[in-house]
């Protein structure tokens, strides 16, 4: 039950979805199973929320260090959940979009989720600058190639690059930095990315096969 059933489910669903691509009458079945997958995905969100609550309520119960911040998480969670599930302040009826402008849910998104998430990522601008100063060294030939390519792209993607190299005649225009940046993107970058893509593509295909055939079982965890 613990191992054989999951292995059978994986084999059955995986094979069905592959076969449904090639046999049109089975397309409908493939769509149904994909819909099942989409519905289970929502339960995965519930699992995530449930797990978050479990972790933070345990922290609160045990009065762990910084338990006060767990209160923030729990209160924020329930406020957002109530605003969304009950569609508080939604201008339409129950079938209206949960994210309709003016609803409490959308207001909380615009003024809490949006600033928090975008600023979290904006921090990376500072860290990448710091890393450029401290760690980006031309230590050897490979690192130098990387550095030069990065330089050309950084310069070529701004008007500054054109200002610096506008004097280069049209018959040598590939040497103008913006054009050089375009050439790098369209040729060596494309070649490198394609090699990576083919490698990953083959990896995904072989891993999918291993999973479907039950050779790859790590996703089942151990039996303890």
């Amino acid at each position: 039950m613990r191992r054989q059933v999951p292995l059978f489910i994986t084999f059955f669903v995986g094979t069905l979805l592959i076969v449904s691509v090639f046999i049109p009458p089975m397309e409908n079945l493939g769509e149904d199973f994909t819909l099942f997958f989409d519905i289970i995905a929502v339960f995965a969100f519930f699992l995530g929320g449930g797990n978050l609550l479990r972790v933070h309520l345990t922290k609160l119960y045990r009065k762990s260090p910084d338990w006060g911040f767990s209160v923030v998480t729990v209160v924020g969670f329930f406020l957002m959940l109530a605003a969304g599930l009950f569609k508080i302040g939604n201008p339409g009826d129950i079938s209206a979009s949960v994210t309709a402008e003016g609803s409490m849910f959308q207001t909380m998104f615009n003024n809490v989720v949006l600033p928090l998430q975008s600023t979290m990522y904006a921090l990376l601008a500072f860290f990448i600058a710091s890393a450029s100063y401290r760690a980006f060294r031309a230590k050897n030939r490979e690192a130098t190639i990387l550095l030069v390519a990065a330089f050309i792209i950084l310069l070529g993607r701004t008007p500054f690059g054109m200002m610096l190299t506008a004097w280069i005649p049209d018959s040598w225009s590939v040497l103008q930095v913006p054009n050089l940046a375009i050439w790098i993107m369209n040729s060596p970058n494309l070649a490198g990315q394609r090699a990576i893509l083919i490698g990953i593509g083959l990896g995904v295909v072989s891993m999918s096969l291993r999973i479907i055939l039950g050779i790859e079982r790590t996703y089942l965890g151990d039996d303890r």
Binding site: E31, T34, L35, F37, D38, A41, V42, F45, G92, S95, A96, S97, T99, A100, E101, Q106, F109, N110, V113, L114, P115, Q117, S118, M120, Y121, A125, F126, I128, A129, S130, S132, Y133, R134, F136, R137, A138, K139, L147, A150, F151, L154, L155, R157, T158, P159, F160, M162, A166, D170, Q176, N179, I182, M185, N186, N189, L190, Q193, R194, I196, L197
Partner: protein, 320 residues
Amino acid sequence: MIPFEPIRLFAFGGFNVPIVISLLIIGGGMLWLLIRSLKAKEVDRRIVFVFIFAAVSAPLLFEITFDETATPIVKGVFEKIENMPERSRIVIAFDFDPAMAPEVQPMANAVIRHALAKNHRLIFISLWATGQALMDKTISEIIPAEFPQKQDGIDYVSLGYKAGNEGVLNVIVSNVKKMFPTDVNGVPLTDIAIFNGVRSMKDVDMVMAVGGGKPGPKEWVLFVGDAPGGPPVAVGVAAVVAPQMYPYYPKQVLGILGGIKGAAEYESELLHNYPRFAEQDTPGLRMMGPQTLAHVVIMAFIIFGNLAFFIGGRHKEKRL
């Protein structure tokens, strides 16, 4: 070569004290950093942070802007929308979150404006929950104010978000109604004029996938664009994933709008062809000022770091 004409190099026109002072401060600071680096003295990371903050803030506050010219990879998308017959159906996918929005939202806005100005019909869809919130925000900000004659259900429709990542695409590529029985407001798809004659994504004329994560533009190419009979797909992607999309161009994608530079190029093309949008905000173009100065500062950091590395003799240290 790429035609390039900086029409508004420095928008402040002539001598401007705040700009000159801020540039002097940044320049002076960089000089101090250079000297310190040459002496192989450590610089606190917070000082580096201050430089980046200043390099981004100054052009933003003093509104330094540049003109852009669309490169062929961006122009391909613009021309496709420009040359499609009126009333073509374009799917716009909002597969992003607020973290990516500053980069890709300007692309979505520009494409929406362009398509509606060309009298095309738009179908909004999202594979990210956050995408639906941003989509509703965008629709309510742009359409009623700039295109008051456009009607929900006739000229545009929002299908909203569905959970299931690429699973959603696997269904809509053969049957849209099965995945989206109604639009985001609960109106059955059978009652929506745009969907007359549309059974699957193969019946739309183009997909503009805007995003940068997973699921996102790549999944639209794999599951929809490359499906037998699939529609042409254009992508607008965050800069981080833009290089990864190049292998698909031009066979599998019409064009790529990569990062804020791609957005700025599209906005510029739109402004040159549609003067009616001159009054609208163009965040892509506006952001290229801070972008330029920040790139210069980061390049200076790399040079200084390397100077300190080589002059300080650390390159001779034995590496493990």
